[in-house]
Amino acid sequence: MKHGCAPLTTALVLGLACLATPGRADVVSDGSTLNSMVRYFVDSGHVTVRSLINDYALPLEGDAALTVHWNNEHVTIPAIQAPVGSPEAIDAITTASRPISGNAYQDYVKTRNEFEGSLTKGPAAVDGYYSIEEDFVGRQVGAHYNRDLMSAMNLAVVGSYGWDDIKPLPDDRTSTPPSERTTKHVSAVGTQILGPASLLRYGLELNVVDGLQHNPYRNVFAGGTHVPERHPDHRERRDAFVKFNQYLPNRSSMKLDYRLYNDDWGITSHEIETDLDQYITHSFSAHYEYRYYTQTRAYFYQSEYATVNGVDGYLSGDYRMNVLSSHLFGASFHMDMDALAASHTFFGRMAVWLNYERYFNSNNYSADILETGLDFHFQ
């Protein structure tokens, strides 16, 4: 395995297995939970993603807990929607964000599986992540430690290292060789009680990414011809965020979030989000959200490039590198079945929820996201 991380992964897996063994920490008979959900995503380009997500949390003795996460995704990128040989079809094929090999006039379908595990012991946690799809394998190991500094203050530090293998599929228009990418992450997060009904969280994050960071299937029109997209191999991404939660007198809460992001590609972004949660009955609650996002463009992004050398040798057809703003509206409903606990013990351990989000941005892109889930408490 690359980067010498195989021993680290093996140690993590063995560590998780040992700590989860009854000889080390006996499993507590109650308190475990299973959360299952279905997520359906469809955007204005008719890309669809169906996700089946399962999370299992198992409390262990000695202030420890084990969590396992599995996500199975089915992604469909539609066929080129233009007559064969037409200028529109040629343009769509040459700038496609999917592999084009042979027939571009049929859907491209791929499956992605994602696994995560974490072991928490007191204030410390270790976690591992593995994601696999046809042209991509992602891995990550991380550690987390938090400490109460005062009676109303907690500070957490997080570090992780990720390493990905990118193996582009055969493509008629590009020939990107197999590549790698690494991500180093550190963050510090403070959580503070401001009063009997107010919480504040703030943090700083730094991500350093090295390796392939452009779409290996996309071409850019430059100097009168189409050439493969090319982004810098190094990117330093940092952000700071503040989250404020306020409990309101009528059994509701209001949340205000702000995030400032900046990277060395020249992108600076601002994000604000507000959420309102309201109990309608003892066990039925509603959640409403709005998010606004705006960003500047990367220094090498241009709508047209005069030469194939682009800007400092870089070319991008990725609209995420351009000036952009977006809005998101969402609403969700959550119902605990505990009212049924006296007569139907089984149903009394359940909660069900439904979530809908509408996203749209200044690039004439929009998406609808529908999620529904079931939470089950085993005891």
Partner: protein
């Protein structure tokens, strides 16, 4: 505004936020709540962590459609291409 000036401004803002956070750490939380007054703070609708899974899913969605990342207090993962 030039690219260099924008970067300087953003770096200054992040530094200012960091300093503000550190000042918050040292303030001693004069307005904090005794344990018996924290009933509302542990309610599900006040929890930062109850939102964590949803925040992580949203971050992956946004990473594939916007140029920035972060804000959930943890690292992301996976391929940002569709």
């Amino acid at each position: 505004m030039t690219h260099a000036r924008r970067r300087t401004l953003a770096s200054s803002l992040i530094t200012a936020l960091a300093l503000a956070a550190l000042l918050g750490l040292g303030s001693g939380c004069a307005a904090n709540a005794p344990a018996y007054q924290r009933e509302h703070l542990v309610d599900r609708i006040m929890s930062f962590d109850a939102d964590a899974r949803a925040s992580a899913r949203k971050m992956k969605t946004f990473e594939a459609r916007e140029g920035s990342t972060g804000g959930v207090g943890g690292a992301g993962g996976g391929c940002a291409c569709k």
